[in-house]
Symmetry: C2
Subunit: 214 residues, 2 copies
């Protein structure tokens, strides 16, 4: 931190304060996971008012996105994923994911998070909770007829695998594929995981309780 | 190595020779990747006759499996994946994969390989080439009506993602799911990637390759 904490506005110390909050956030998310880290505690650790954290970063997902150096907060992406025909939501999920990760900034941030999730248990929990709570979990809660938790996890499995083979351990046919082509190919998988029958011959909505684990 | 190289049979030095071969194999696979490492060069580096490598480990995939401490060589699993109704091959792929990875030995070996593939570029290439050449690549070459490389890569993306969220960064709904249930749920994805139309509205066999069995 480059000076005493400031309380608001665009003043010379702003970037130092911002960086102090991000630093405190990274520590809190790593130590406590996404769910248990609170804006109040992060503000306290950065010696600023919680209102300032909201002022800079909006909600917790925005703070997390900034702390992890994501180029954009998921709450700003989700509306475009959820709008449009429900029958194409799977394709939009993949298209949006690729648009962020194929970009230089998003790719670097995503890769760093994915790599650390694999090698560090706490980073893994952090990523997992963030995915469930904010990203895929939200899409599933909006679109799934049942079993949103299982459906979100299945979607996550396809997306994580795609990220692995497109960016981290590049398999040529996936790594060099055109994003539109890939969205058209993998989208139906996400579509079925979100809205289709989960196993062949199974009714779509066997259990409608939210969050029911199988 | 605990003694001079032996040329055959079950003699006191056998386990030392076996270990020397495995050590040489690990080095060769890591340095050269799966495709370029040859049994001849590995034998030379372990100071044994290539015939002895074949005697101990069979083909290159068996040697690789032993070097990576897989509990079983893929060439011994593939027949059971490929036999039975072609319409259920996707489900058998997932079922077989889970049977090996859910086992203690297979799980530990698989995890070690996956973790090192993420953090080490050479290990990544090794895993990638092995998957393409021996495991999923073979299934795709036997079952895909076209585009076997892309189809194999798509299958790999789903399997790698499943492995990530079941074992490495466990997401509860996937990690605790019953293997049969998971095979029934994820199997249709693999089935479509292997044999179905790759994108909605696309014909299944745009470019059927000569001699491809259905």
């Amino acid at each position: 931190m480059s000076g005493p904490p400031r309380r608001a506005g665009r003043r010379p110390g702003e970037s130092g304060t911002r960086e102090a909050i991000l630093e405190a956030a990274r520590g809190a998310f790593a130590d406590l996971g996404y769910d248990r880290a609170t804006i109040r505690a992060i503000a306290r650790s950065a010696a600023v008012d919680p209102a300032l954290v909201h002022h800079f970063f909006g909600t917790k997902d925005g703070l997390f996105a900034a702390a992890m150096r994501f180029p954009v907060a998921p709450s700003r992406i989700l509306p475009q994923v959820l709008s449009g025909p429900r029958s194409k939501v799977g394709e939009r999920v993949i298209r949006t994911f690729l648009a962020v990760w194929d970009g230089a900034e998003g790719g670097a941030a995503g890769l760093a998070l994915l790599r650390s999730a694999v090698t560090n248990e706490r980073a893994g929990r952090m990523l997992r909770e963030f995915l469930s709570r904010e990203l895929i979990g939200r899409v599933a809660r909006e679109t799934a007829p049942d079993a949103p938790e299982l459906r979100a996890s299945l979607v996550a499995s396809q997306i994580v695998g795609l990220a692995m083979l497109r960016y981290l351990v590049p398999l040529d046919a996936v790594a060099s594929a055109d994003a539109d082509r890939l969205a058209a190919t993998v989208g139906p998988t996400v579509q079925r995981y979100l809205t289709g029958p989960l196993a062949s011959g199974e009714p779509v909505s066997r259990s409608r309780r939210a969050g029911t684990p199988r």
